[in-house]
């Protein structure tokens, strides 16, 4: 099946709309890119679109109620919402250190969810 679609390149701020034709595993650049970098981007985006995921996780006993987190690497687009669902169920106890792994192999991937902020213990007097 041959499909044609537009991919907006995000390598540089111009944002060329590149028209691609996909035939199974073959990609043909029809046109629209102003430079070569767009071709590489379009290839990746067409077959395996991935995005960096950033969100937050509940913290117990911390000076902040949640800690911001990120995926250790870009996640496959189609798994995004199932990953978010798993993250929403998670809670972590303070203290949390930036860089600390919160969830390993989230949604059966080799990607982990990592804290991006340090959250100290809540001062209780």
């Amino acid at each position: 099946m041959i499909a044609e679609k537009n991919i907006t390149c995000i390598v540089c701020p111009i944002g060329c709309k590149i028209l691609v034709r996909i035939d199974g595993m073959k990609l043909e650049i029809v046109g629209g890119n102003k430079c070569k970098r767009g071709i590489e981007y379009a290839k990746n985006e067409a077959f395996d679109p991935r995005r960096m995921l950033t969100t937050s996780v509940l913290v117990n006993g911390g000076e902040w109620p949640i800690v911001s987190v990120k995926s250790s690497k870009p996640v496959p687009k189609e798994k995004l919402f199932s990953i978010l669902k798993e993250i929403k169920r998670k809670a972590v106890n303070a203290p949390v250190k930036s860089g600390q792994t919160i969830i390993e192999n989230v949604a059966n991937t080799d990607i982990s969810i990592v804290a991006t902020k340090t959250v100290k213990n809540n001062k209780i007097f």
């Binding site: 937050s56 996780v57 509940l58 109620p65 949640i66 929403k88 809670a91």
Partner: protein
Amino acid sequence: MNNFQVAIIGGGVIGSAIARELSKYKLDVAVFEMGSDVASGTSKANSGVVHSGINSPSSSLKARFCIEGNKMFQVLANELGFPLRWVGKYVIAKNEEEVYELERLKKVGISNSVPGLKIIDRSEVKNEEPNVSCFKALWVPTAGITLPYQFTMALAENAAENNVRFFLETKVTGLKKQKNLFLIKTNNGDFQAELVVNAAGLNCMEVVSMLEKPDFQLYPCRGEYLVLDKNYSSLINSMIYPVPVKELGVLGVHISPTIEGNILLGPSAEFIDDPYDKKTTDETMKNLFQEAKEIIPSLPDKAVINAYSGIRCKLASPESGGWADYRIEESKNMPGFINLLGIESPGLTAAPAIAKEIIKMISCLIELKKKNSFKSRRHRRKRFSEMSAEEQSTLIKKDERWGRIVCRCEHVTEAEVIEALSNPIGANAISSVKYRSRAGMGRCQGGFCTQHIVRIMEEHFNIDVTDIKLKSPNSNLFYGRNRGGSK
């Protein structure tokens, strides 16, 4: 307690003024207010002017109560600690023809015993108001400005300190007279009272209808206002009013300084069908600005920082000229049911005098014994931003919360926010903080302070985030928590 001697329906400036007067006597008084705070309706959405009395015909109740009220304001301000400035007013005439109107107003003023009125020519006006263009003007020295919401809150809080019970977010849904008692149904339970005072403002007709057929009609008339940035506060020193437009019997576009240093343009006047339609409209906002620019040509375009509207409770239709006097009377068929109808401008000014009149009426119905324990002075402290460095340092030493600034634009401290939320009538909406402490009224319009006010509400007052309201029972700010469910 559900039984009271006097139940006041409506916590606006009129209801609050009456409550305060009643609190001087040994009585059980309740105020039922459907909003989340006092001054939720027209009482907060007006010009904040303390009128001199030149605008009402001499034989009217409006004139009588305005002049009496005006005389009472300074003493009240001293006792209750709300801001008041006697800035005076220029009624300006554009041409020779309009000077006749100035002379007419002066005559009315004199017959109302308004002191100090004089007609002056443009050069004298220019001396005091270099930015104003006019032909001649009538100078009215006994006109002043206040903050209408703070005035109302001061009255209500003093009444509460003197044991008046305030029931907020409580709407009266039904009234019945059973022998000598009124049965009052509300969304927060049932109550009983010997006397009912209907100070419900725009809802006054709805309240009357609960007991009898109203013999009047209400004609809500919306007034929109524009608020100018404080940077332009030096444009005028006193209030500037063009000669009143005769057709509607309402006041024209005014330019008034405010207590806080902003300039107010308005109000407009538009008869509307829905008494709760407080929208500001593009057309009117533009017209207001244009009309103001005719009086102050140097008014810059980007000066507007806020807009709001208030609804006048009019008893006269636009066709009839839109002017009607106040109706303050005990119902003929329902003794003990006292109605205050059509309280529009000069309602704010008239409030203290109207309250005294209501006391007179009530004294004929039940025995009034003065309280020895009446606390006439309300505890009021200067704002942190108004204090000297020494005063500030001393307070911070006593309580470190005076050193934590919550509102950066207006320099309002955490202690003041907590004080605002600790008010004796139990109001705890965001606007309750805003109107008492000024937090959120600056340039960033709550951009910085809102998160801190929310934190204080949660931590100090145990208010759940889903219960935090902006200003009225269903104006919740938040949907809930994203993680972990509610606390």
